[in-house]
């Protein structure tokens, strides 16, 4: 699988570089190169993921290596959706380097699966666990989109308030656009997170009969869930539109990163995803 993944990495890398160049130089030709290599990379990546699944008969979301690779895939998918819906190319400037980095790490990180396959062979676990991890990975990608659009909102809002415009200003999508992206992505992210937590609980219940273990990861996931719920509720009551909502979007993502990686530092049986 390695040559295929290296090709994926190369395509993502080319896309990332051209996305940045297109952003800086405002050249449509460069953006086209970016789009094309992204399509190539995404197609190859999808092939690699399916091949992993079919050949190894193992859902590709067990080790950190596989999770990172899949996370990169979901971020590309999320970026594609944002492009299609809002044409917000600027997102790629942050998203695509991240995708390249995730792919790079996933290729060169050497760890075997850390969850024994036998653990999953319980009656309902076979499909609940992959569903749990998949939903959460997509949720992370959505929260990443919230984060980037929130940052873009804050940058522009600040410049509009100070009335001094940097080179960024003309290259970013309008306030309304990034606000819409952020709201839509937060709604999707929260839905996925809710389903992800629910399937995790069901899986846990089917394994040892307990819904909740007070595991650090579970606690942080709950905090994350509350934060995004708060963000959406406030947004819908229109009390926290704009800057304060954007700050929540940034804060929420920091919590997401911590939920994703933090529990490894503490004693948690949840390791990834």
């Amino acid at each position: 699988m390695k040559p295929l993944l290296l090709a994926v990495l190369a395509a993502y890398f080319v896309a990332a570089i051209h996305s940045i160049l297109a952003f800086v130089n405002k050249r449509r030709a460069l953006q086209r190169v970016c789009d094309l290599s992204l399509i190539v990379g995404f197609t190859l990546h999808t092939t690699a993921l399916i091949a992993d699944w079919v050949i190894d008969r193992r859902y590709p979301l067990l080790s950190l290596r596989e999770t990172l690779s899949f996370l990169a895939w979901t971020v590309v998918a999320a970026y594609a959706v944002v492009l299609y819906r809002y044409g917000a190319y600027a997102l790629g400037v942050i998203a695509l380097p991240l995708v390249s980095l995730l792919t790079f790490v996933s290729i060169f990180l050497r760890t075997g699966p850390t969850i024994a396959v036998e653990q999953l062979s319980g009656s309902s676990g076979r499909w609940l666990f992959p569903l749990h991890t998949t939903l959460l990975t997509f949720a992370y990608a959505a929260f990443f989109v919230v984060f980037v659009s929130s940052v873009m909102y804050l940058l522009q809002e600040r410049e509009l308030k100070l009335k001094t415009f940097s080179a960024f200003f003309h290259r970013l999508p309008s306030l309304t656009t990034v606000n819409d992206i952020s709201t839509t992505a937060a709604t999707m992210g929260l839905t996925l997170l809710t389903l992800g937590i629910a399937t995790g609980m069901l899986w846990s219940a089917s394994r040892d009969g307990r819904l909740w273990h007070n595991d650090p990861k579970e606690v942080f996931a709950l905090l994350t869930w509350l934060l995004y719920l708060g963000l959406l509720v406030y947004r819908s009551t229109a009390r926290w539109r704009g800057r304060r909502a954007a700050w929540l979007g940034v804060l929420g993502f920091l919590l997401v990163i911590f939920t994703f990686l933090g529990p490894r530092l503490m004693d948690s049986y949840h390791v990834f995803g």
Binding site: L160, K163, T164, S174, A238
Partner: protein, 431 residues
Amino acid sequence: MAIVLIGVNHKTAPVEVRELLAFSEGALAAGLHQLVDGEILREGLIVSTCNRVEVLSTTGKDQLQQGTERIRDFLSRSHNIAGNSFSAHFYQHVDDQAVRHIFRVASSLDSMVVGEPQVLGQVRRAYSQAIEAGTAGRVLNRLVHHAFHVAKRVRSETGIAASAVSISYMAVELGKKIFRSLEGCSVLLIGAGEMAELSARHLMNAGVARVMVTNRTAAAAHRLARDFGGEAASFDALADHLAEADIIICSTAADGYVVTPEMAAAALNRRRNRPAFYIDISVPRNVDPAIGKLPNLFLFDIDDLESVITSNIREREHEAQRAELIVDSEVMQFEQALRALDIGPTLAALRQKLQDIARHELERQRSRLGQLSAEQENAIDALLVGTVNKISHPVLNHLRRSAGNGESIQAWREIFGLETPDGATAEDIDE
């Protein structure tokens, strides 16, 4: 063949000089006919705007001196100006410098406000007038079309015209930055000044759905509303209208604040915190600057707008440097295309020359051949021409391929003793 450009612009001549030299719409055609004599000056184009008067023409390489004098004469005589009184203001460019200049003019790099879009239209109009007058020929056609191409490239590949440099357009640009699209937005005009009206018109062109106009005197509000196709709103209910409008342009003659923080905050609340964009173009200011601190509200007063415009102009000048690189490479490409244009007459002249040699030799030997039938005569002619063409074919082909290389064309011309492209013979054959 040489391209010559002589003119004045806002950098070299004050407005008093420019207005003396300018051509009115009606005088242009006559001017073009007067300029182009077909002998010294073969083609002509005159760009005459408030910022520049430029004469672009083509002449023979060896007639350059006469050509430029003729253009200078023409400029003085057609405006009844004595001799050389303005010659210090004129600039003169030849060949690649002239090409570069007209490319820069069309791309708005030579404009007072770099990147302004009008100049391209002015060049386009000058060109169509030259076509009507019949003074745009082979070279100018190519040159002007190439200039349009360069202008298009500069516009799409650099940010030279990306940012607003006028207050009225600034409102549109900032509005788009806040609301994504102005379609569906509503505008409230409080009071009216020239600037406010202009801004409102720009906003309407950009697609705002609704314009409300309010004024202390209801009659004035009604009059303006009629002008804009908008609706008049009562001044007493200003607080209500603030909540309905996304963009508020304020320009009254009032001494104090017409919009207070309390009013703006209440309006925001009723708008459920949807963003609002306030533009205060009145002096003294009519919108309390304190409202700029409210969340989701963006306030720009006239000084803010002016300072943004200053920085946008700097940004444009920065982008102009990138545009110059595009112009450089396009000048080179045009020079190449022009040399390829020169090759046509050379090839025709060369073929003619070789056939002439063959026919000449035939004539010398003709008497020895005795009586021949018409058919035989034709056969001999076909034999000669066919042989000459077959032999010269690879040579001509090679020449055509190396058309970009002016030196080799010149070398071939010299080898066969053809006149230079400026001589009448070669060109006459082509045309």
